[in-house]
Symmetry: C2
Subunit: 384 residues, 2 copies
């Protein structure tokens, strides 16, 4: 059943309560957000206009009370419908001030002079405003202490609510069906570019909002890399094709892949597929709440042995972003808890510089992993 779009106000109230409690613990007076996913998480502000790179967007979270938006005028009507109690607008683009003076005043109104300012400045963050404007802002609000607030939103966002899980389950189901239909239309002789296009069309037809992310590759007995743009070379007998997609429904991502073999595929590739499938199966059956990401990585590595590939990890968190913390890797000691949504993504280096990857999406429940993607076949599906 298709979930409802959007979230009730109570969802945002709960998110805000968690974030403000963490701000209090960290003695942060005011939190400044510039990234789309953070702003959307806190306010519900969703627009395809984020693709337009000209104008910066800001949301200010005070110690108590509702978030305040400081945004270009073009966003006023949409932001007014979001979880804020003030929508401050500036004329943009501007050659003198893209909202910084206004932003400084809003921060000062919330937190007084020289506040402790929290921002997302740690791992996996970007500063979605000009660095020069950041310097102007810091001067404007009296050289505040700048504190890394990355962990606050990271922790809050990592555990999903029931409504978020419903959206993630829905998009994973839709994308699974698109993958499962592939053998009906993909064929030897077809180019990767045509396959990408056909996949996107089928995804849109199935009710997916957008195919924001689609990577893939194909090659004899494995692929050279997993991030090339698609080319014109026709699929040949012996090729292994992999498509990895981040499809969106109501702003929530799936992120998993599927492999297909064509004609006569090398024994090495068939074996690698089974090994990757089995490593994923080990993770699905072995994962329990309380384990760490490193433990989960260890489960998969036990099956695969030490492999030297380029991906760097065996999966990650999933939600508003295609990739979210944690990372399933030896150093990540994040404790995995109920209601986290995760990818399992083991990879293998093969001979001749080839590689293969496999990926599923799961929800961690009290009992262990529940598949959100419809499980891939245990042997490489062959298209003749």
């Amino acid at each position: 059943m298709t979930p409802e779009r959007g979230f009730p106000k109570a969802e945002f109230e709960q998110r805000l309560a968690v974030v403000q409690a963490a701000m209090a613990t960290d003695d942060i007076d005011v939190l400044l957000l510039t990234q789309e996913h953070d702003i959307r998480y806190i306010t519900g502000f969703m627009t395809p206009f984020w693709q337009s790179p000209t104008r910066p967007w800001f949301v200010v979270v005070p110690k108590s009370g509702l978030p305040k938006a400081v945004i270009p005028t073009i966003g006023r009507e949409v932001m007014k419908r979001c979880f804020t109690d003030a929508v401050h607008c500036f004329a943009a683009p501007s050659n003198t001030d893209d909202g910084i003076a206004l932003l400084g005043r809003v921060i000062a109104d919330c937190a007084g002079p020289t506040p402790v300012l929290g921002m997302m400045i740690g791992a996996e963050t970007k500063l979605m405003m000009p660095l020069m404007d950041m310097e102007v802002l810091i001067d404007a609000i009296g050289q505040p202490e700048l504190v890394d607030a990355t962990e606050i939103l990271r922790s809050a966002r990592m555990v999903k609510s029931p409504l978020e899980i419903a959206k993630l389950r829905h998009i994973c189901g839709l994308a699974s069906d698109v993958f499962n239909g592939m053998p009906e239309w993909v064929h030897i002789g077809q180019s990767l570019r045509s396959i990408f296009s056909e996949f996107k069309i089928n995804a849109l037809r199935s009710g997916i909002d957008d195919v924001s992310y689609l990577v893939g590759n194909a090659g004899q007995g494995g692929y050279d890399d997993i991030i090339s743009p698609p080319g014109e070379d026709p699929i040949q007998s012996g090729d292994v094709l992999m498509l990895d997609t981040g499809c969106l429904w109501d702003g929530y991502f799936c992120d998993f892949d599927r492999n297909y073999g064509f004609g006569d595929v090398s024994g090495e590739a068939l074996d690698a597929y089974e090994l990757l499938w089995q490593a994923t199966e080990d993770a699905i059956t072995g994962l329990k709440p309380g384990m760490t990401s490193a433990d989960l990585f260890g489960i998969m590595q036990s099956r695969l042995g030490a492999t030297d590939d380029d991906v760097g990890r065996y999966g990650h968190g999933l939600g508003i972003q295609l990739t979210e913390p944690p990372s399933h890797i030896g150093w990540d000691d994040t404790v995995l808890t109920e209601n986290m949504v995760l990818t399992l993504e083991p990879s293998l280096a093969l001979s001749g510089g080839k590689m293969m990857v496999h990926e599923e999406n799961i929800l961690l429940t009290a009992d262990g992993a529940e598949l959100l993607s419809k499980r891939a076949a245990p042997q490489l599906p062959i298209i003749k």
Copy 2:
């Protein structure tokens, strides 16, 4: 005719020569790039993997010699095929160092200790790495002087090469045909969400690589805003529908919109459409090389009068990004020269908080504007 994909090496040599000449003028020892479009412009590195937000990517441009990539291992194979003479890779994600130590060494090797470091830190830029890592980097390379290099790439990228123009012409033509086919399938009773989906499917079928950007709205006699996500409300008689798309072909964007009326549309909306069309026509016929963006804005404003809408400008540059400098607005004195590709995008505020926009894409030649989009009809097309 479909242009060739990619660029020959000579194209990148020319771009690099222009950038390095500007670096010399500004006494910049080394340029550090973190944004996708800058990295792609200089090296040709193109991958849908940019949508994956975990890992940072760096390119270092020395005073002389080829660019050096400092990137996550996952990108090695693709970057090796690009315009660089060194691909330095780091294991990512990492909990201790996402490439900063390596980046520091590469910068020091290029430019010695305490160089003058150019970065894109001005208007319309983002810092696509954690701000905390930026501080670590600055320490690692001996507290260099940080210089704003925004203008260097802005100037270089604003004037398009013949091969870039061919790609832009191609995508504008493809998207025009998708729009021109709309009256055959769009109808009263259809939801905006269904219209968005159908538009994307038709675009993909036509040979467009991706519909990265699609915004639009519909309402009685005009729309409330132009950035809302699409909803389920059915189109009614009296509605004006606007779709604005940034479609991609080989990494180059179109950016224009089309309006359609349904059934009996208000006289105000019909008049507004004609006025916007005429303002665009004035710009197309009046624009000559040597005018500024402010002059171009003035041409359109003369037709429209002073209007108080929320868009903030009447068009902008176009290329690797959906929106590039300059901005057609009163303060932008950028001189418009041959081989710039621009949007013309006048907008009008109507009664009752409604608005309308219209947009075309042009190439500026020695003789004036040449349309890249196929010109919209002078009267609002009505779908019964």
